[in-house]
Amino acid sequence: MNPERTLGEFEQIVLLAVLRLGDRAYGVTILDEIAAKTGRNPAPGALYTTLHRMEDKGLVTFRDGSPTPERGGHAKRFVIVTREGRNALASAQSAYQSLLQGLDLLVTPTRRVPHVSILRHGFAGCFTGATNA
């Protein structure tokens, strides 16, 4: 993989947030989306640093909106993920998926092996949250 196209964790989060927002992605909405979906509250400076770095790498591009009074007359800069950005994100995500395969980390313990819970605790154990751990 090209070392310039490797993505950090926060870069991936930002790119995913931008893709989710579509044509509504700019600084404020990206921060809100990250907060809503990940529970993190990143500082605005961290977001802008990441966006500028990705712009320099060619992973995102910007489209200027029109100035609005609630923004003090400043225009929004909408973020758009470029083809390179999508490829880099897909590559990073596929690497994660490859590493995750066989680990079953995303499956909850009660759903993972219900028959073991049934054997140990009976049917009542499944509904009280008892696990095979």
């Binding site: 070392p3 310039e4 700019y26 600084g27 404020v28 921060l31 500082a43 605005p44 400076g45 961290a46 802008y48 640093t49 500028h52 712009e55 320099d56 060619g58 995102v60 591009t61 910007f62 489209r63 200027d64 100035p67 609005t68 009074p69 609630e70 923004r71 003090g72 007359g73 400043h74 225009a75 929004k76 800069r77 758009i80 470029t82 083809r83 390179e84 999508r86």
Partner: protein
Amino acid sequence: MPKSISSAKNSSTAPSEWLLAFVTNPTRAAAILGDLTEMAATRDRLWFWTAYVRTLVTLGWRTPVAFICAIVGMRFIYRVVISWPMSWLMYHKGHAWIYAQIHPHVRGFHWILCMLMVQALFFALPFVLIRFGLRNRLTQLACALLLITLPIFILSPSPLMLDLFTIFSVLAIAVALLLPLWRRPLIVLAATCIPIVAMNPFFFLWMAYVFHKSIPLRYVYSVQAIYSISQMTAFTLAAIVCVYLYRRLLQRPLASDRTIA
């Protein structure tokens, strides 16, 4: 937007936006200020200014830190790293000087071009390394040129070595000029080095003035202070030139100008 944020913005938009534009660029600065103003609508005035200062520091810390590290690094290199091999090799340097007297073309390259390059790169390399990172072409070029030029001063300088590394240095510059990928980094690096190199005539004039006029010691100190101030001015100028030209020549064009995939 609350009245407090609105009035804060109206009273100090220009300086705050100018400061942000100084560490990023005008387009980005306007968008960031707009975002902060919009977010401040549901918060208070203190949040706006705290977020503004944090954003400013996050975006602009590299240049002052790089400048300070470059000054400290350069002093360290001069006083510790270079002074020891230079004193150790003084005998060989004498031979090198005699050789250069016999062959003036070598003296021209060795004692002027390479020494000026090394002097300027002692500042420029730490600065660009911290400001732009090791992966940047500007840093890589500065590193390569310093590594090619430095052996002239720290290795045993036989006549063959002098000729060899002088040729290497000139070849490296010529190759960088010929290759489109490295031409712009070389221009930025050369422009960065110019203010530092320009200090040398001042230094030699000062030395000549001190030794030939036999001026009292107290005046020597005052001249030395002036020299130090001039040197710091030269370094500051070099840093400003470097950052400015980097943005103009090496940074990608604004994203809005590029084709969207």
